[in-house]
């Protein structure tokens, strides 16, 4: 099976749906939209089997030459190796489930066809991103994902606010893309190629550890990654991206888009590994982001925004893992996160639809009785996100990161503490949401229950969110290493400095304990509301702080004041183009001098005579003076 078909089929179906516009019936749109992703998934599985069967030999397919000039040449080349296979499988399978779910969620939307066209395009672009054999094609997918996020966040374009959210997402990620583009220029300058294997190979020979050039490149690539993956300082677009329909959020958060940064760093890991500065920067960004976003998630009222901040926080974990050199741990967390985050988003979507598009958690409550099926799947997802030990996938993946953030060669106690704090926060915000939504009194009445096409994907994801964890078990618990073994040909194993089962146990126990603490705290906070705590929360300083957190630590405000407003102000002031006034000035100078000289043409005969006389006098006096000289 040809790998090129995997992205080609979603692209083709997007074209069909786009051209068909509203002429294709809804049923046909559903079949084409979901079927294309299903076919892509099947082909992906076949290719994966093929890759696995040939001893992890990457499959590379050259489709055609894209650009060439001088010694620069890139093609449309697709590559399937261990790393891309993992991403492709997750993208197509989770993407397929989201598509199926969307047939229910979007059933009444007037732009049904456009929606599926964009979704297919999104999946296709993401597939190109992870399958690209050269960085320019990767950039193609990278920007394509940006475009699709723009189209889908702004899907309900009639509300200008959605359009602005979409535009923000596009522009903010574009800032990161710019950094990445510069990284590509640097890479081409030094390695003379932009093919990923070539770059990595030449780079490994060219740069020793800590070379400033490789640091520069790695940091610029990181800039691209933080943009797409919504990490500090470019995380501001993601919470606003909730303006899109819920399946879109699920797609952005679970399968596509935000994980692109993780993929990029994993793909270019040799460059990062060669630069301690870049590694620690990645880890620090991840660590800070996971804590800040976790805190923000604590105080949100909109259920989707809680999930958005939790995504930022979880991607922060992945960045932390990448920064510690724990490449496969990051990818493992990506996989489990894709399952449980898709699950959570889609169950949240089901709740939102059931409550007449109500997203405020404080207007929900008591849904355990009215939506029992959702209750259970949501519980599984939440448990996985909060990393409840032993039975959830999230536990195994996150726990691995927490342990490695300390024990890996590039790890440190600081990272470890941040990760533990994150575990506490995750437990708190996840279950705060859970209690608010499902317990307490019913505030909004459920008006219709999700159909089978929405529930089936949830059940599948619920299963995956549980069993996916067993692919990789820690030393202390069975020691299964399917994921890291699979990734071995591409991503080297993490270098450990601490290898002690006791310590690992302690770390695991601690993180589990903290998760439970978080859950307990959230129970007290939401359900019990002891008087002292309420008073404490009502204090003005705390109120302000909560507001600040709810607004995402006021990053938006800061960027607005520092960048957006000056730009808008400058451009508005200069709308008429100050340079044009130079030319306008020249024109009015000519006009002015015309006016002055035209005045002497008075039409008065005697003035003319006067002029003649004066002229004659001047000439005569000059002549006489010259003669006497």
């Amino acid at each position: 099976m040809s790998p090129a078909l995997i992205p080609a089929i979603p692209f083709l179906s997007a074209c069909i749906l786009m051209l068909g516009w509203n002429r294709i019936g809804r049923a046909a749109v559903s079949v084409i939209g979901c079927g294309s992703i299903a076919i892509a998934a099947i082909i992906a599985v076949l290719v994966a089997v093929n890759v696995a069967g040939t001893g992890m030999q990457p499959v590379v397919q050259h489709v055609w030459n894209w650009m060439h000039a001088g010694d620069f040449q890139v093609g449309i080349d697709l590559r399937m190796d261990a790393l891309s296979v993992v991403f492709v499988l997750v993208i197509t399978i989770v993407g397929f489930l989201i598509h199926v779910y969307a047939t229910g969620y979007m059933a009444d939307d007037e732009d049904y066809s456009r929606f599926f066209a964009c979704m297919n395009l999104f999946v296709g672009a993401m597939l190109v991103l992870v399958m690209a054999d050269n960085l320019v094609l990767l950039y193609f997918g990278w920007e394509g994902v940006g475009l699709c996020s723009y189209l889908l966040i702004g899907f309900w374009y009639k509300d200008p606010a959605n359009g602005y959210a979409a535009r923000k997402a596009f522009i903010v990620t574009r800032v990161g893309d710019t950094a990445m583009a510069v990284a590509l220029f640097l890479l081409f300058q030094y390695t003379g190629t932009l093919n990923i294997p070539g770059v990595l190979q030449t780079g490994a020979q060219l740069w020793h550890s800590g070379d400033p050039v490789v640091t520069m490149i790695a940091l610029l690539l990181l800039g691209g990654a933080v943009g797409k993956s919504a990490q500090l300082p470019l995380q501001t677009w993601l919470p606003d991206a909730m303006a899109g329909p819920t399946p879109v959020s699920a797609l952005i958060h679970a399968a596509t888009m935000v994980t692109a940064g993780v993929y990029l760093i994993a793909r270019m890991h040799t460059l990062f590994a060669a630069s301690p500065v870049a590694m620690s920067t990645t880890a620090v960004i991840g660590g800070i982001t996971l804590v800040l976003a976790g805190v923000s998630a604590l105080v949100q009222t909109d259920i989707k925004r809680v999930l958005a901040y939790s995504t930022i926080s979880q991607i922060g974990y992945m960045f932390l893992a990448l920064g510690c050199g724990a490449w496969s741990a990051a990818i493992f967390h990506f996989v489990t996160h894709a399952f449980f985050k898709a699950l959570l988003f889609m169950s949240a979507g089901a709740i939102i639809v059931a409550l007449h598009h109500e997203q405020d958690m404080f207007k929900m409550g008591g849904l355990k009785k009215s939506l029992p099926a959702i209750y259970w799947v949501f519980l599984i997802g939440a448990a996985s996100l909060a990393a409840i030990p032993f039975v959830t996938a999230g536990f195994y993946s996150k726990d691995q990161i927490i342990w490695l953030s300390w024990s890996a060669a590039e790890g440190s106690t600081g990272y470890w503490l941040a990760a533990l704090l994150g575990a506490l926060l995750t437990g708190m915000y996840t279950f705060r949401m859970f209690w608010l939504v499902f317990y307490g009194e019913e505030k909004t009445h459920v008006h219709h229950k999700p159909g089978a096409n929405m529930m089936a994907p949830l059940y599948i994801l619920a299963v995956l969110s549980t069993v996916a964890g067993f692919m990789e078990l820690p030393h202390t618990l069975g020691h299964v290493t399917l994921v890291s073994n699979w990734l071995q040909p591409v991503l080297p194993a993490v270098r450990l400095v601490q290898e002690s089962a006791v310590l690992e146990w302690t770390s695991q126990a601690l993180s589990a304990l903290l998760a439970f603490c978080g859950i307990g705290l959230s129970w007290i906070w939401v359900m019990r509301r002891p008087r002292g705590m309420v008073d404490f929360l009502e204090m003005p300083a705390i109120q302000w702080l909560r507001g600040c957190w709810a607004r995402g630590w006021d990053f938006d405000e800061i960027y607005d004041v520092l960048l957006v407003r000056p730009f808008v102000y400058l451009s508005k002031v200069n709308r008429r183009d100050v340079i044009d006034s130079i030319y306008a000035g020249m024109a009015s100078f000519a006009e002015l001098s015309h006016n002055i000289i035209a005045r002497t043409q008075s039409g008065l005969l005697r003035w003319y005579i006067m002029g003649v006389v004066l002229g004659a006098v001047v000439i005569l006096s000059v002549l006489i003076w010259r003669i006497y000289e």
Binding site: A598, Q601, S602, G603, L604, L605, R606, I609, V613
Partner: protein, 102 residues
């Protein structure tokens, strides 16, 4: 004060010329302006005659004949123009005929 006759003649011509000039400049009545121009022409003619007697040559006197002829021609054209002007503007004030300003 003992002046050479040539100097006296030239002085007279100069005074006449300046008088005519001033009169052209300050008069608004176009007939008077024409008269003043005639004075200036005659001043120039006088200067030619004086110069001719000074050098003892007839050239200057010939020149004066030209000036006379030209002045006659000029007056005939000028008076015709003045008549037209008077018909058009019902005035002889030259400042009223300032339509050709820029």
């Amino acid at each position: 004060m003992n002046l050479h006759p040539t100097t006296t003649g030239l002085l007279l011509a100069g005074i006449l010329f300046v008088l005519g000039l001033i009169s052209v400049l300050i008069r608004r009545n176009i007939i008077f302006m024409l008269l003043s121009v005639e004075i200036m022409l005659n001043a120039a003619g006088l200067a030619f005659v004086v110069a001719s007697s000074h050098w003892g040559k007839a050239d200057g006197q010939v020149m004066f004949m030209f000036i006379l002829a030209m002045a006659a021609a000029e007056v005939s054209v000028g008076l015709a123009l003045i008549l037209q002007l008077y018909h058009q503007f019902k005035t002889l004030d030259s400042d009223q005929a300032s339509k050709m300003h820029g």
